[in-house]
Structures are given as structure tokens and as C-alpha cells.
Symmetry: C2
Subunit: 201 residues, 2 copies
């Protein structure tokens, strides 16, 4: 039964792949970026040679982990966009969902004022902001661009700036959520960011 | 002449320190974050043990390098702020200077659409956005907060959101400049970001 065998092998591969991503994220969250392939292999419970069959280096694992995260977020954003027909409500729903995703985990371990949070947040932020336009990141940008285009067509978003540029602005501005201490502050960030999108007075 | 000797030693230390930062930035720009202490020591032309007397790891070198960059940028922002008495002009001057600093090097090696730029830009972005509130980064935030406070007092910036939060918003939104392909697009980013700061209609 080669088919069953194949699916078992494939399933095993996927389980190991997932374990590598999860373990690496946990290790970086605990120790920062100074994590090496040997430590990861040891914590996953596989040999170092096996790990190298999956990924060439730590950076590649982090990129894959980030890609998985963004893909999960994309699903939630697409759902938020599909939940309403109104262009204004849709824009609001997508931006506030993105804001919530950007601030995940921020209420725990509170980061008021100048205190740095754990390595985990730092890493997420760094990856989120790196200029790597991965496929998932590109789809995220496309989704926001699309929603802004609809809002501009409806006359409720400015039409004098290309929607793709407004999407870049939104994604960067809303990422500030991770640096803000309270839900109220993040709500104000959403309002301020949206004010930048309004048609010019 | 112990004084002369001291100053020579101090000068030597500073020269090596500078060389470590410059060399590491160049190596990361070329090879990405997969750079180790041995490679850095070799390229600086010092022993590995000597390098460890200056920095405990690569991350510490990158943080110091970033701190030096932000400090240089701060001087330029402070000059821009001091050049005018008018609160509105001052805000405009500080934000456009920050925008220019955020997009340094962007016109070379052009990064249109989804193409990732070199590792150098990526690293700068990652560090810029990491939640590490280093002393220089804190001073940058304080400077922008101060200028926004003055603009709010003058009635030309919104007063319903704390100036420190507006500063966080501005710094994140303007960092999008590094992802925008042209000077015209970055100018539009500045306008959109400033629109978010206006008093509510």
C-alpha cells in the first residue's frame, strides 16, 4: 500500500516541520537570536543532520515560522473583510483586526514606557518589519490595498494617493500597536491611522 | 607622562570600537545575519579574544552600531527642530528630516514592488523597529513628542491623543519610507502621516 505509506511519511514530515518551527520560536523567545542549529535539533529531539534536511540555517526557520504566522493572520483578515458589504465597515474591520493581531501578547508582561519586552515580541516585530516581501506578506499587502481601493471608490478614503502606498502606510503605522501600553492607546492609534486615510479637506 | 599614555590607549580603543561596528555592518550588509564573532575579528584584524573584550556577541555589536546611527540621526533632527520658531514649520521640518533619514540608501539598488533589498536595509529596518528602547531611540521619541506637544498647544495638531502616542505613530508610519520606491511616494507618505496628526474634523 504505497499510498498509505506516502501519506504517513508526508504526515511525519509535516509533524517534524511544525515541531521545528514551534521549538525555534520558543527558544528565540527565551534566549534571543543567539540560537544555533544544534540547540534546535536537540530540543526538537532529532539529529542535527536531520534538521539540515529541513532547513539550511536558523534564519530560514525563522522566515518559515513568520510566513506561517502571517498566513494565519491573513485568514482572519480575509474573514473580517468578508463579513460586511459596506466599504467603510470593511476597511474598519480589516484595520482593527490587523491592529489586534499586531498587538497579540502585548497585554501580558506589560511594556510601559521604555522597557523592552521579551525577545519573542522583539523578534516578531523585527520580522514583521523586515523588508522581505514574502508571499504571505505580499498577500497581506494586496488584501489591504484591495479594501482601501474599494473605500476610495466609495469616496471615503483619499484617492490622491495610490491605494498600495496607503496600504504600506497602514501596515507600518498599525504595527506601532506593539509599542503601545494599553488597549485604549491602541484604539487611538487606529483612529489616528484612519484619519490619515481620509479624503483631503 | 601617564596622561598622554591614557589618551593614546583611549584613542586606540575608540578606533578599534569604530572598526568593529563598521566591519560588522559591512559583513551583515553582504552576508545577512549569519555572521559570527570569528569572521568579525578576522575582518577587523584583531584576535577573537580581543573582540570579546569589546563585545559579548554579534547582537551586542549590532545594537551598538544601531545606537550610533540613531545618535547621528538625532543630531540632524535636533538641528532641523532648532532652525525655526514656528510650531507647524518645526513639526514639518522634523518629520521630513526623519523621513529622509528613514529612506537613506533607498534610491540606490531600487526596490520596486516585491523585491527584497540587500541585507543592509533589512537589518536597519529590523533594528529600527525592534522594541528595544535604547537611550538614543528614547531621545528620538522624546524629541518628536516635544515637537508634537508644541504643535498641539498651537492648535495645529490634535490634542485628543497623548503626544507621546502620536510620536510612536509617526515614527512607525514614516519608517514605511524604506518600503516605498520613489521620492514622490515618500513625499505622499509624509502628507498622509501628517494628516493623521491634524485636529479632528
Amino acid at each position: 500500500m504505497p499510498k498509505l505509506w506516502d501519506s504517513t511519511v508526508e504526515e511525519h514530515r509535516r509533524t517534524v516541520h511544525t515541531a521545528i518551527l514551534d521549538t525555534t520560536a520558543a527558544l528565540v523567545g527565551e534566549h534571543g537570536l543567539a540560537v544555533n542549529m544544534s540547540q534546535i535539533a536537540q530540543h526538537v529531539g532529532i539529529g542535527r543532520a536531520t534538521l539540515y534536511k529541513y532547513f539550511p540555517d536558523v534564519e530560514a526557520i525563522l522566515v518559515a515560522w513568520h510566513e506561517r504566522q502571517v498566513t494565519e493572520h491573513l485568514d482572519q483578515l480575509a474573514q473580517a473583510a468578508a463579513a460586511t458589504e459596506d466599504a467603510g465597515e470593511r476597511l474598519q474591520a480589516v484595520l482593527s483586526t490587523y491592529l489586534a493581531l499586531s498587538s497579540t501578547g502585548r497585554d501580558h508582561g506589560g511594556h510601559a514606557g521604555g522597557q523592552p519586552p521579551g525577545h519573542g515580541t522583539e523578534l516578531t516585530m523585527a520580522l514583521h518589519h523586515s523588508q522581505h516581501m514574502t508571499p504571505a506578506r505580499q498577500r497581506l499587502h494586496d488584501l489591504v490595498t484591495h479594501v482601501i481601493t474599494q473605500a476610495a471608490d466609495a469616496g471615503i478614503a483619499r484617492a490622491d494617493v495610490p491605494p498600495a502606498e496607503l496600504a504600506t502606510y497602514c501596515l507600518h503605522a498599525l504595527a506601532a500597536a506593539a509599542a503601545l501600553p494599553s488597549p485604549a492607546a491602541r484604539q487611538r492609534l487606529l483612529e489616528v491611522t484612519q484619519a490619515g486615510l481620509l479624503p483631503q479637506r
